[in-house]
Symmetry: C2
Subunit: 356 residues, 2 copies
DNA sequence: GACCCGGGTTTCAACGTTGAAATCACGGGA
DNA sequence: TCCCGTGATTTCAACGTTGAAACCCGGGTC
């Protein structure tokens, strides 16, 4: 026997029981038109009896809205994106929207498909956290669905974006180390090829350099630690704890060892957590000998040994701005693109105390 | 000026350009009916020219499927649920489904709403990870939408479930400590009120006790550490690092102190991570004096100090089983409910070595 | 040469909802 | 008494797609 379509009562079924036209039932449910108290009561009873639920597909077909947003991120399993997803779901819910989560695994093809709205045809808007694709590709691939880009990888002026300023935030983090008296600073997380790598990392490196310049310092090239190129098969990408661990261990094992390094700025918290482990394994005191700062303020960063000083982006605000932006585009597709900034703050912890 | 509906070309638009009936365009796209090579080419050209995308709402209305599943979890920001969401999205994608993520915050009302399918009317099935509601409530609230429950909180026979065996897994973890020579064991994560608390925690406690009994041991009641009741406002629930930290600190500060405790089984990794911090702060050597095991194998657990021994549920398999179950229900709503088990394994790390 | 077959294509209707406009009931004002 | 207005309700059509069935046409078959 073939599986029948799951029936489900319709407006007409409810109407039949309540003894009214199905349009009246619709009126009761939507509240758009006035309905007498008596009929309203009858209709509501019938709705309850049948456990009627409006069929969103039909409604969407009629009104052209699905009240669904798509959030596209590389990996939901990374703390940053998990937090982001949490924030976006919360922000969307506050305005009556649900969120479809799409994972791109950092695959350029999947990111393009996400930008085009391919798998998500029924969503009213797309929030895309890009990791592999560039401006031109994005602009070429985007479809009619309103799109807001999260993060600084994309810099095209013609698309809406919500960002946290990587340059100034990392500058602040670096300045924090300098204020604490650190003079020989390193950066963990440079990327081999600027075009294929994560742009945010470049910007953070730029912020690092800006702070050094402002203090009249310069970084030893040996202290700019490059991470491995992106690997599709790795579930964690190249900004992982493993990568941080491996890079710092390599530095320690290298000819110069630490070579006087007394402060390490990491492109994100996971790298920093890996770095902490490598330093600990080598018996290097943190923060005594080397101070460490991260970027993300992952929940676990308050529980590392020592607790990690980090840049905490305001993801709640980021999500609210992003949702507001995309809904603005839904209302008015002609609305000119904007770039909005979400705030951040430096969270000082023991890995980089102000008094050394 | 009112915002116009975002137009978007339809089958008819494509048909007009290609010079065929719109039904033929549909045939080309669905591939259900044979189409000559010539017309296929013309249609495909027209599709490309207009950048046509089928309107899923209309398709869904017609065929009664949305190819959308809803995953409902308490908090996406907790590592376990983030990993779970990742696994579910991946498993769903493999069979052509997208996933809508719903966060309940552990709110019973929201869990019931999720079970009923209220906010997710257009999804073909629901995967619910319940935290607050019980069997009867769930059975009363569930609607027509196929539902699969994840986890052991719900024990009703009349609903499909996919679980990881909490009792035997925690028994294994406890036995691991006993094998390593630990004799005075404690459990972190008992819940004050069995009915309102997390059932998984009860089962894990049961597994803990089973292992003790099998070894002829008994737990000192002082070593059964109860966590605070669930608090809606806390973003992390009662199974948090903070809670683990606070409870173990309280034990250490109490009259008996550790009182000989040499092994601690934790209901999840976050509690264990908090416990590790409290022990470290008090100068208690782990694993020298106290061995610690967790449950979850959160990614960060490999990077704690010392690295945490943990039970690793196979979430990939869990997700695949869950998706398969719910799709089976979609195909055949009458299909009798099943309970399926996902495997787990013990991941030994330094916090609980076999040789003390 | 009439008939059938089947690939290719089209016509028709329906999925469940809502905007727009028509209809109805009723009471108050002229 | 008649008309109007307003609140309440209904009729009508349409959103874009697909299942079912009809249609068309050229090539065998007898």
């Amino acid at each position: 026997m073939s599986a029948r379509r799951s029936a489900g009562p319709t407006l007409k079924d409810v109407a039949a029981i309540a003894g009214v036209s199905y349009r009246t039932v619709s009126n009761v449910i939507s509240g758009k038109a006035p309905v007498s108290a008596a009929t309203r009561a009858r209709v509501e009873a019938a709705v309850a009896e049948l456990d009627y639920r409006p069929q969103l597909a039909a409604r969407q077909l009629r009104v052209g809205r699905s009240n669904l947003l798509t959030l596209s991120v590389p990996f939901l399993s990374l703390p940053y994106f998990a937090q982001l997803a949490h924030a976006v779901v919360t922000a969307a819910e506050a305005v009556g929207y649900d969120v479809v989560v799409d994972e791109t695994h950092g695959d350029p093809e999947r990111e393009l498909r996400a930008a085009s709205g391919y798998r998500t045809l029924l969503s009213d808007g797309i929030l895309l956290s890009a990791m592999s694709i560039g401006d031109e590709e994005l602009m070429a691939a985007r479809g009619r669905t309103p799109l807001v880009v999260l993060g600084e990888r994309i810099r095209a002026a013609r698309v809406d974006r919500v960002v946290v300023d990587s340059v100034t935030s990392t500058r602040d983090a670096t300045a924090h180390l300098i204020t604490a008296g650190r003079r020989t600073l390193g950066f963990l997380g440079t990327v081999p090829d600027a075009s294929s790598g994560a742009a945010a990392a470049d910007l953070r490196l730029e912020g690092f350099r800006t702070a050094l310049r402002a203090a009249g310092l310069e970084a030893d090239p040996r202290h700019l630690l490059e991470v491995s190129p992106w690997d599709q098969r790795s579930p964690d990408g190249d900004y992982s704890r493993e990568e941080g661990h491996a890079r710092v261990r390599a530095l320690l094992a290298g000819p110069g060892g630490l070579a006087g390094l007394d402060g390490l700025v990491c492109a994100n918290d996971l790298l920093a957590i890996g770095a902490l482990r490598a330093l600990r394994e080598a018996g290097v005191d943190v923060p005594g000998r080397v101070a460490v700062v991260g970027w993300d303020d992952a929940p676990e960063s308050a529980y590392t040994v020592p607790p990690l000083t980090s840049i905490a982006p305001d993801l709640g605000e980021l999500a609210r701005l992003a949702v507001a932006s995309v809904l603005r585009l839904v209302d008015d597709p002609e609305s000119p693109p904007r770039v909005e900034q979400a705030p951040y703050r430096l969270v000082p912890r023991a890995s980089a105390p102000l008094i050394p």
